[in-house]
């Protein structure tokens, strides 16, 4: 072995060792600052982690684009008619007067809210785009109570890291981190374009997370669970989406 190739070998070895150590340090830092998504395992974990971590660093407080009233789409796309369950039929027949939102988990005062109670809190109206991962999109005015207001009412514990939300159709559930949960544009929407939120668009209550793609905006919301870990929910991947092959973080 010549002098040069030995030197090359040593520098390459040192560089590799530094690289591996660097990655280890980076991973620990990322974990500490909440930059690791729940579906970070598996062959696509690298890309998913880079998406989530970079977006968290870049967009923690940024606001989703809002539009002028004349940009509202004529027909807001409704790609689902209604949940098939008998319970939903019963609630719909009663004008959703008996619809309840349960808020539980790491909260000081677990509560059940009726729609009337949610509507009694200060509301927010915003004209934002809903973009589907398939490629289509529409703009609508969404009216609802900011999720942060509801979280304030129940008093979340300081170690809370995620809010898990679930549809009356229990197949559909998802979660967001506290950056999105406390974000001013994340609302529990009950109105659209000046009127009630139709069942086709997720009424009577839909989570709206305008900085993420449409599938994070779960329809027919009946429960919120505040938690510090997503491990106990479903397969521990953070939502029903990764269980169906879709990314947990849908900001892209």
């Amino acid at each position: 072995m010549t002098e040069i190739s030995r030197r090359k070998l040593i520098t390459t070895g040192l560089a590799a060792a530094a690289g591996v150590t660097g990655l280890g340090v980076a991973a620990r830092m990322a974990q500490k600052h909440g930059l690791i998504p729940p579906d970070h395992g598996g062959i696509y974990g690298l890309g998913e982690t880079l998406n989530y971590a970079s977006h968290r660093l870049l967009t923690r407080h940024s606001l989703a684009r809002e539009f002028a009233r004349e940009q509202i789409s004529k027909i807001p796309v409704a790609n689902e008619i209604r949940p098939a369950s008998e319970e939903f039929t019963r609630l719909q027949a009663g004008g959703f007067a008996e619809w309840r939102l349960s808020v539980n988990g790491m909260v000081a005062r677990p509560a059940l809210f009726s729609l009337a109670e949610l509507k009694s809190y200060p509301s927010r109206s915003q004209i934002t785009q809903l973009a589907c991962e398939e490629g289509w999109s529409y703009i609508a005015e969404w009216i609802g109570v900011p999720l942060s207001n509801v979280l304030e009412v129940v008093g979340i514990e300081p170690q809370a890291r995620y809010v898990v939300y679930s549809s009356i159709d229990s197949e559909w559930w998802d979660s967001i981190d506290m950056a999105d949960a406390r974000h001013p544009q994340t609302v529990l929407a009950y109105g659209m374009n000046g009127g009630e939120l139709s069942v086709g668009n997720g009424g009577p209550l839909r989570m709206r997370v305008p900085r993420q793609l449409g599938y994070k905006s779960v329809k027919f919301i009946t429960s919120l669970t505040v938690t510090d870990s997503l491990k106990a929910f479903g397969k521990g991947l953070g939502s029903a989406s990764p269980e169906a092959g879709y990314a947990w973080y849908a900001g892209i």
Binding site: L50, S62, Q71, Q129, W136, G245, G251, I252
Partner: protein, 246 residues
């Protein structure tokens, strides 16, 4: 080691032993990583388009709005009226994961290549056209796809140089930009990324056409490799030299 790709034409008169390499190790490694990522992006991109093979211009577009154009293919979602009586299986989950993962790898690889290219003079020496060759006559000659001579294996011709520069500095940046412009979170932080393009659906449409341009480049690139001599060109891009060392 520096950039040794630009070997004087007299090289061929010397024994091949003195020849170092046609393509530096960094160019070879980044080339193949990019090629692999591009294939992954292409396959996953096609799968994603199949879920909504309609294109629009402006901010929004959906099944209730007029299209700019439609692809005459069936869709993987029953919501889309395609005229076909069946719906293809939904492949968007893994396609989206793979698309973004490959995008990260190719963007980071591209950054490494760009930094290398700027600092070693790779762009200046190997890709910037030589003044004397910048004539229509020279370009038309290349456009006839004539089989290159032996000495051409050591340097790029003018049309090649212009094409590579266009791919590296126009098509790649544009496809990255239009991709980012479709991300609702990214544009919440950088709204001009999408407003400059005329809206999110415009970004999607431009993304589609730039991808087509990149695909066209890939096809011509591969055809030219075959015409120029598959073995020598592949050898150069894998091992560094177009001919076997003696």
């Amino acid at each position: 080691m520096g950039d040794s790709a630009c070997v004087p034409s007299s090289a061929s008169t010397f024994p091949a032993v003195t020849v170092t390499s046609r393509h530096s190790a960094l160019v070879r490694v980044t080339h193949w990583i990019t090629a692999l990522c591009f294939l992954a992006l292409l396959v996953s991109g096609v799968e994603i388009v199949i879920s909504h093979p309609r294109f629009y211009w402006g901010e929004t577009g959906n099944i209730h709005t007029p299209t700019l154009f439609k692809l005459p293919i069936p869709a993987s979602r029953n919501l889309v009226p395609t005229g076909y009586g069946y719906v293809l299986p939904d492949q968007n989950g893994w396609s989206r994961y793979l698309h973004f993962q490959s995008a990260w790898v190719v963007v980071l690889t591209g950054l490494l290549y760009a930094i290398y290219g700027l600092f070693t003079g790779h762009f200046r020496n190997n890709l910037l056209p030589v003044q004397a060759d910048l004539s229509w006559r020279a370009i038309v000659k290349h456009l006839r796809f004539e089989r290159p001579s032996e000495s051409d294996a050591w340097s790029y011709n003018t049309l090649q140089r212009l094409t590579y520069l266009f791919v590296v500095f126009v098509l790649f940046p544009l496809v990255i930009w239009t991709g980012l412009a479709m991300s609702p979170a990214f544009v919440s932080a950088v709204p001009v990324a999408v407003t400059l393009l005329g809206g999110q659906q415009s970004a999607r449409t431009i993304h589609f056409f730039v991808s087509l341009a990149l695909l066209l480049f890939l096809l011509i690139h591969v055809v030219m490799v075959f015409r120029a001599g598959f073995r020598s060109r592949m050898r150069a891009m894998i091992f560094g030299t177009p001919m076997e060392r003696i």
